[in-house]
């Protein structure tokens, strides 16, 4: 019995890789297993080499494994590329009749995927469903949950579609039962607490978090890997009274959300690095006019177009510094789906409370990967609008000044059209009343007012996550989506006798209070783990804490870290 199993489904774009992975993922997560699915796709609609990798574990999992137990090749030619990753006793499933690949090894199992698909429904389109059925047989699992899921997924497309898919799945399942020895099967043990889980990816978690935080207006321009957020919001906009307006470009997107936010509704946009470049001036506009704005940036490797469908962590410094001039902002970087959900709630509350932009950094690895979560507690997101005033709450509406001095830096905000008074907002330096000014004195006062917010904001930032608290000899330092690989690496290293702690930041800017340092031993060797060339966060960490990292483990090939890579590199340097 295994307690950790990875299935890689590879093939061409358009072959239905994702329906195989999501079906397997969903069925196991419903049975209480922990599941992690990562997507490795090329920037094309059809063809190429792509894979999804489903990891099923009896214990929590947030990252991919470096080795695979089952390789499913929907396209014969894909076999050669992925075979080196297959474990010695792993199983390869490929179309023996359609593939140039030939093998006599007992664990290389040829299945006539295309023929079985055509026989089940006169169409080769269901070969992915044949493969899914075969996978369940390889796992020694029952077929019933899969048939139920097919009914659920294809039922809406008509009875015939569902029936044909069920036939296809049964054909694949049966073929394996009849053609493979029982002792080759890879069975997985039961999870300890078989509590039903939910499965969602980072983009969905971000979108749901935003909706539960009271999102009302959304504008964006599609850009991988952020588009999933916009599509999710679009699909659910009607149910939640959200207006989604597709923008002509990212400049328009950020300016539209600023307009809507000025009018008083919670607004957001999302993009990737390239689009965020276009948004930079708008970010400053939110800062200067003191308009709340939430911007999600799903990073991908740059510069310029870079690797559009791959992952990277190179935009951290950019997010912290984007736009001319100085103004307060916060930057978050969730490590997994559940954290992304909750941080969206915090992002909206902070943006409102400090009337300034908040940036949430994701990346392809966070946004596209699926995570299991026990449940998303929607009640934990408390919507606090802060400082939005009605006429009753303002002493003298007719003398209202939008940027009235306050030592916290935040002035109460009225909403246009909902007050007897009017308000002026300005991107020029302005007086308390919001009119353009050239006065040196007013400029100084207004800079102080805006920057004063930093003091309050600093106190809002949560401490980094340290795991375990027990002091170690090695500390793995990171932020954002490396969470899963780091956590697993820390645990693996500890098991190998190297006491290791993970120090993970999801709230990066403003840098949290330094109290957490007491849990990090002075003599511990710090390894920075980052998906960029320069170790951007390591430098910020040194600047903020005075502590240099001892080693940097950096990766910039567009692929996510696995725990194994971290473990090996740490061991090599000890």
């Amino acid at each position: 019995m295994l307690n950790d199993l990875s299935i890689r489904i590879c093939g061409q774009a358009g072959q239905g890789i994702q329906s195989v992975s999501s079906m397997i993922g969903k069925i196991f997560s419903r049975q209480g297993y922990h599941v992690f699915i990562n997507l490795d796709v090329e920037s094309r609609i059809r063809g190429g080499h792509n894979f999804d990798q489903v990891r099923v574990k009896t214990k929590p999992v947030y990252a991919a494994n470096h080795r695979i137990d089952i390789l499913v090749a929907l396209d014969g030619d894909a076999v050669q590329q992925d075979l080196p990753f297959l474990l010695e006793n792993g199983l390869l499933l490929y179309d023996g009749e359609k593939s140039k690949f030939k093998s006599r090894k007992p664990n290389h199992v040829p299945v006539p995927l295309e023929r079985l698909s055509v026989e089940s429904g006169k169409d080769k389109i269901m070969l992915n469903t044949v493969a899914t059925g075969a996978v369940f047989a390889l796992l020694g699992a029952g077929l019933e949950p899969l048939l139920g899921k097919l009914d659920e997924d294809y039922g809406r497309k008509g009875k015939a579609v569902a029936e044909n898919n069920k036939k296809a799945a049964a054909a694949g399942y049966q073929y394996i039962r009849e053609n493979i020895r029982e002792n080759l099967l890879l069975k997985i043990g039961k999870p300890k607490r078989a509590k039903k889980k939910i499965l969602l990816n980072g983009s969905q978690a971000i979108a749901v978090g935003a909706i539960c935080a009271g999102l009302k207006f959304y504008s964006g321009y599609p850009m991988s890997p952020s588009t999933g957020i916009m599509e999710f919001v679009a699909a659910h906009a009607k149910d939640h009274g959200i207006i989604l307006e597709p923008a002509e470009d990212e400049i328009s997107a950020i300016n539209m959300i600023i307009g809507a936010s000025f009018a008083g509704v919670r607004s957001m946009t999302d993009t990737s690095g390239g689009g965020f470049c276009l948004m930079a001036e708008g970010l400053g506009l939110a800062g200067m006019t003191e308009t709340p704005a939430v911007v999600v940036v799903a990073q991908r490797p740059g510069p310029a177009t870079g690797l559009p469908t791959r992952t990277d962590q190179s935009d951290l410094r950019f997010a912290i510094h984007a736009a001319q001039g100085e103004f307060p902002r916060a930057v978050f970087a969730p490590g997994h789906a559940e954290q992304a959900f909750h941080l969206m709630g915090k992002a909206f509350n902070l943006a409102d409370k400090y009337q300034t932009p908040v940036i949430v950094l994701g990346d392809q690895h966070l946004n596209d990967s699926f995570f299991t979560v026990d449940r998303l507690d929607t009640e934990r997101i408390k919507i606090k609008r802060h400082h939005v005033m009605s006429d009753r709450e303002i002493l003298s509406p007719m003398n209202y000044r939008r940027y009235a001095w306050h030592k916290s830096g935040v002035s109460p905000r009225i909403l246009p059209g909902l007050s007897k008074a009017v308000l002026y907002a300005d991107s020029d330096e302005h007086t308390e009343a919001g009119h353009i000014t050239e006065s040196a004195q007013v400029r100084t006062q207004m800079m102080k007012k805006r920057m004063q917010k930093l003091e309050g904001m600093k106190k809002e930032m949560a401490s980094p996550h340290i795991h375990p608290l027990k002091q170690g000899d090695v500390v793995l330092l990171g932020w954002g989506s490396t969470y899963g690989a780091m956590k697993e690496a820390a645990s693996d290293l500890s098991a190998q006798g190297v006491a290791t702690q993970m120090l993970h930041f999801s709230e990066i800017y403003l840098f949290p209070n330094l109290a957490f340092l007491k849990n990090i031993p002075k003599k511990a060797r710090i390894f920075a783990i980052e998906s960029n060339y320069t170790g951007q966060f390591a430098d910020i960490f040194r600047f903020e804490t005075g502590r240099s990292v001892d080693h940097k483990i950096l990766k910039y090939d567009g692929r996510p870290f696995t725990a194994k890579e971290i473990v090996d590199q740490v061991q090599n340097r000890l």
Binding site: V208, G241, I243, E248, I251, A260, G264, L285
Partner: protein, 284 residues
């Protein structure tokens, strides 16, 4: 009753003496008074330039944003509170140059706002460079040999991309301009009013006198519902320059087509936390 005094702003005006913007400001205030719009029912969004300072000089809700980004801000604002009367304003550089892409797409959307472009065919705030509407051969500090690019024809462009209210006014004719602005505001949908606005400091060619000799009012006979006629009328420039409504035909506006705000404006809607639980359940 609303009076001109209600629109008094204490902010001192920073325009050059004799600037065409003064008459546009006056025409705008008059239009609000005639329509009985109160200052708090109006929001004006502007960008950067001399014209975008306009909202400071009257009483209304105002968002003076970035250069060229007026229309996206106005669009977001209108969608979030479509009960507000939303106007956008700026110059030819702001709207037709820096904000050209937004100009096209705002017209496609047909968001219900009125867009006043103070078109002086030159950059004023940066002190006299060529603009997208400068005539061929127009000599400036950045085009010492004369502007070599075809001037943009905003009205023809507007007709082509489906703008459903396309008009031209003249800062030297307030009695014509003010009612034109009123009609733009009353029009349901995106209304473009390109206003010929002489720049007394940097445009010595297209002066008040130059325009006065050329502009004429479109008469009762003119068929403003015909797109082809409008497109052809929009080509008229030089000896004779038509002012008035070149094209007006209503079509559904963006805000009308969103069921979520058919009754209540977005900003007044309550959050329904009960729906969140259902939303999360789709991942089970």
């Amino acid at each position: 009753m609303v009076t001109l005094d209600d629109f008094y702003s204490e902010d001192p005006i920073a325009w050059c003496a004799g600037c065409g913007n003064f008459s546009i400001l006056k025409a705008l205030k008059q239009a609000f008074v005639e329509l009985g719009k109160k200052p708090n029912e109006i929001a004006i969004v502007s960008g950067i330039g001399q014209a975008p300072k306009t909202p400071h000089y009257l009483k209304c809700n105002a968002f003076n944003g970035l250069h060229g980004r007026t229309l996206p801000v106005a669009t977001g604002l209108k969608l979030a509170n479509h009960k507000l009367t939303v106007l956008a304003g700026g110059g030819d550089g702001d709207g037709y140059g820096e904000g050209g892409n937004h100009f096209i797409h705002a017209m496609r959307r047909n968001i219900d706002i009125t867009y006043l472009v103070h078109n002086n065919q030159v950059y004023g705030l940066t002190k006299g460079q060529t603009s997208p509407t400068s005539d061929l051969g127009f000599v400036t500090k950045t085009t010492p040999a004369g502007s070599a690019s075809m001037p943009l024809n905003p009205l023809a462009l507007a007709v082509a991309v489906g703008c459903c209210f396309v008009a031209r006014g003249f800062a030297g004719d307030i009695d014509h301009l003010s009612p034109l602005i009123q009609q733009g505001i009353l029009h349901k949908g995106f209304a473009l009013i390109d206003i010929l606005q002489p720049c007394v400091s940097f445009n010595r060619v297209n002066t008040f006198q130059w325009y006065k000799e050329r502009v004429y009012h479109l008469d009762e006979e003119y068929d403003r519902k015909d797109k082809v006629v409008a497109f052809s009328k929009a080509q008229e420039w030089g000896e004779k320059i038509p002012i008035g409504i070149l094209y007006a035909k209503e079509r559904p506006t963006l805000d009308e087509q969103i069921p979520a705000i058919s009754k209540t404006s977005l900003v007044k809607q309550r959050i329904r936390p009960k729906a969140f639980k259902k939303l999360v359940s789709i991942f089970e």
